[in-house]
């Protein structure tokens, strides 16, 4: 039996759309619309989907950096959606975040050392003398020099900045890190280094990751299980090998058919998806994917398929498998 570190039940995050002088509430952007999954201790759950499907909103909402509209998030069995400020501050020592854009995730007016040390300062870790030592230690751990502590973000490269962001997240010894597209702003060679660092740290400190990305190759390299998201909902959730070799949902199949393979002779059958992603303000009825699905049936536009276990550890939300 796996020990669940974090469990999300039917989480929803709607952003209100307002109009007019009196800010009349006219509609909702349904960024996250009823998502359920769990993350076990020390594992990496990959979350993949195209831009605008609600991946980042999900990551922020489950750490309560944004308030969920409804649903529950359990951290070690306790529902954090009802926690107050003080309890949340305790959660911030357990669960951290790594950001996509290393440029904007560091305060341009703070030295690297101050940025990393801020976490220690906020939580009162160590004395004023111990903190610089801890910062130096963290810098070394993520592959930077202790001398970098006095540098400013504009003096570092993109990869170095991302390492700083990782060191900052590590400062409080978290058990869970939400990595929101941590490598998508980096060069491919730097991507590999950062991915290695992330997996090394996981082994060393037994950290669980929610690894958000839009690149299936990246996700495949780090994750043990993968969730595929489309328009605010999870359509398929399976172990990495299962998902790559036997994708069940037509959307996952289409995504996988688009992954580049470094073999020019291999014949690839691509599954083109017609049309555009529908607006999350007014998602299509029934299955969200039915407007673009190559295997659409009559029932798809009427009933919303539930995420069901089809095989062991392989969940899919599709009427094909009813």
């Amino acid at each position: 039996m796996v020990r669940k570190l974090l469990e999300v039940r039917n989480l929803k995050k709607y952003y209100p759309v307002t109009a007019g002088l009196l800010a009349r509430h006219v509609a909702d952007v349904k960024a996250v619309d009823g998502v359920s999954f769990f993350i076990a201790e020390g594992e990496t759950l990959g979350l993949v989907g195209e831009s605008g499907c609600g991946k980042s909103s999900l990551g922020r909402t489950l750490l309560r950096l944004e308030e969920p509209t409804s649903g529950q998030v359990f951290y070690r069995g306790a529902d954090i959606t009802s926690w107050n400020k003080k309890q949340l501050k305790a959660l911030r020592r357990e669960a951290q975040m790594i950001f996509q854009d290393p440029q904007s995730s560091l305060d341009p007016r703070m030295t690297i050392g101050d940025s990393i040390g801020e976490a220690l300062l906020i939580h009162g870790v160590g004395t004023e003398k111990e903190r610089p030592e801890r910062v130096a230690e963290l810098l070394k751990r993520v592959g930077l020099e202790p001398a970098h502590a006095t540098r400013y973000p504009h003096e570092l490269s993109g990869g170095q900045k991302q390492r700083t962001g990782i060191a900052r997240a590590l400062a409080v010894n978290p058990k869970l890190i939400v990595a929101d597209e941590p490598v998508s702003a980096l060069d491919v060679s730097v991507q590999a280094q950062i991915l290695n660092l992330v997996t090394d740290l996981q082994r060393e400190f037994s950290i669980a990751y929610l690894f958000i990305a839009h690149d299936l190759a990246v996700i495949g390299q780090v994750s043990s299980r993968i969730a595929v998201m489309y328009l605010g909902q999870i359509v398929e959730l399976a172990s990495r090998d299962d998902l790559f070799h036997r994708p069940l949902h037509p959307y996952t199949q289409a995504l996988l058919s688009a992954v580049l393979v470094p073999d020019p002779h291999q014949k690839r059958k691509r599954i083109p998806l017609p049309g555009e992603v529908p607006s999350p303000i007014d998602p299509p009825p029934g299955c969200r994917f039915h407007t673009r699905c190559p295997k659409v049936m009559k029932v798809c536009s009427r009933e919303m398929p539930e995420l069901k276990q089809i095989e062991e550890n392989h969940l899919v939300a599709c009427h094909l498998y009813d």
Partner: protein, 364 residues
């Protein structure tokens, strides 16, 4: 780490609050018990000088390398360096000048309308005894290198005095306006919701407020004083700053480093004072530099139309005095005009330079 140590030993806020409490105590004493311990100007400086030293100059010193980086970028703007040089010169003149020149209010009718050194002018005097018009030519002398006005006052002394007055007005009104604008802008953007709505509508109303009429009214009711002018310009001039600071804060608030701070568990207070305000300060410095010349011109305009404080010799007042004798003694009006022109230009150049230095997108 250095931020928490340094010369204040991490107790910067405490020391500053202590100083402010002492100042408040003296002010209350002044108000209710003793009369006139300090002049209003002194209070102003006693409030803003520690504020600037503790939260403006000290961080520059503490983050020497960042300061150096921005200075190197500003330096590449040659006009900005020239502007800064001229402003430093003006400040030196304003501080030291009045001790070196003659009394700018000293009237000397024997030497009226003297031209500047190197110039000569013809003056016609109607001789009552002969009933003839006598035309004499006068030469500028080194005793009055910038010439004299129609009452024989030394123009150099008047301009030096005007430098002090104009810079003081520019600095003070700008400080008041920036201070209010910064607070309203940051609070409005960070809290959002109805607070934002209320503050921004208030700003809109203030923007439509005719400050000129307000000033005319105050001058009519209470007589003109330098303080009224400073206060009216300062208390009505913050609207643009508030709007700019608000929009900058709104864009900063969505940046990941604010989210990162939040995810580290930082309090709202910490986010506002450690992240938002230091990051909008570059914008504020640019606004301040560019608004000082506006204030100086506004005061000159007020003095020119006769609404200025008649007891202090400002550039506007000299300009006002000179307009009547433009045909006979052009230098009285032209000299303060040149000073205004150069000062405004210097501040604008410096402001442009700083803006480019702070803007990460400009590759200068």
């Amino acid at each position: 780490m250095r931020r928490t140590g340094g010369i204040f030993g991490g107790r910067r806020n405490l020391i500053f609050s202590g100083l402010m409490l002492v100042l408040l105590f003296i002010f209350l004493l002044d108000l209710f018990v003793v009369d006139r311990i300090f002049e209003p100007f002194t209070y102003f400086y006693l409030f803003f000088a520690p504020l600037i030293i503790f939260y403006g100059v000290y961080p520059l010193y503490a983050n020497r390398r960042l300061t150096r980086y921005y200075w190197d970028r500003t330096k590449r703007h040659r006009l900005a360096v020239i502007g800064l040089g001229f402003i430093i010169f003006l400040v030196a003149v304003a501080i030291l000048g009045p001790f070196l020149t003659q009394d700018p209010t000293q009237v000397d009718f024997k030497n009226k309308n003297l031209p500047p050194v190197g110039f000569s002018s013809e003056q016609s005097i109607f001789d009552r005894n002969t009933g003839q018009l006598i035309t004499t030519e006068t030469q500028g002398t080194w005793r009055h290198p910038f010439g004299t006005d129609d009452k024989g006052r030394d123009l150099l002394a008047m301009l030096v005095s005007g430098t002090r007055i104009s810079l003081q007005i520019g600095l003070m009104a700008t400080l008041i306006a920036i201070f209010i604008g910064l607070i309203i802008g940051v609070v409005s953007a960070y809290l959002g919701g109805w607070v934002d709505n209320a503050l921004m509508r208030f700003t809109d109303i203030m923007m439509t407020f005719p400050f000129f009429l307000l000033l005319v009214l105050i001058v009519f009711l209470y007589g003109s004083s330098l303080w009224f002018i400073i206060l009216v310009i300062g208390l009505t001039g913050w609207t643009g700053t508030a709007r700019l600071v608000r929009s900058e804060t709104l864009s900063l608030r969505t940046r990941d480093f604010i989210m990162a701070s939040k995810s580290l568990g930082a309090s709202d207070r910490r986010i506002v004072f450690r992240h938002l305000i230091p990051n909008v300060m570059s914008l504020v410095i640019v606004i301040a530099t560019l608004s000082i010349p506006g204030v100086i011109l506004a005061e000159a305009a007020l003095s020119f139309i006769g609404l200025g404080d008649p007891t202090v010799t400002s550039w506007g007042l000299v300009l006002h005095a000179g307009q009547r004798s433009l045909d006979t003694a052009w230098w009285i009006a032209v000299e303060p005009g040149i000073m205004l022109f150069l000062t405004v230009l210097a501040f604008n150049f410096l402001g442009d330079g700083i803006r480019d230095a702070f803007d990460p997108r400009s590759q200068i």
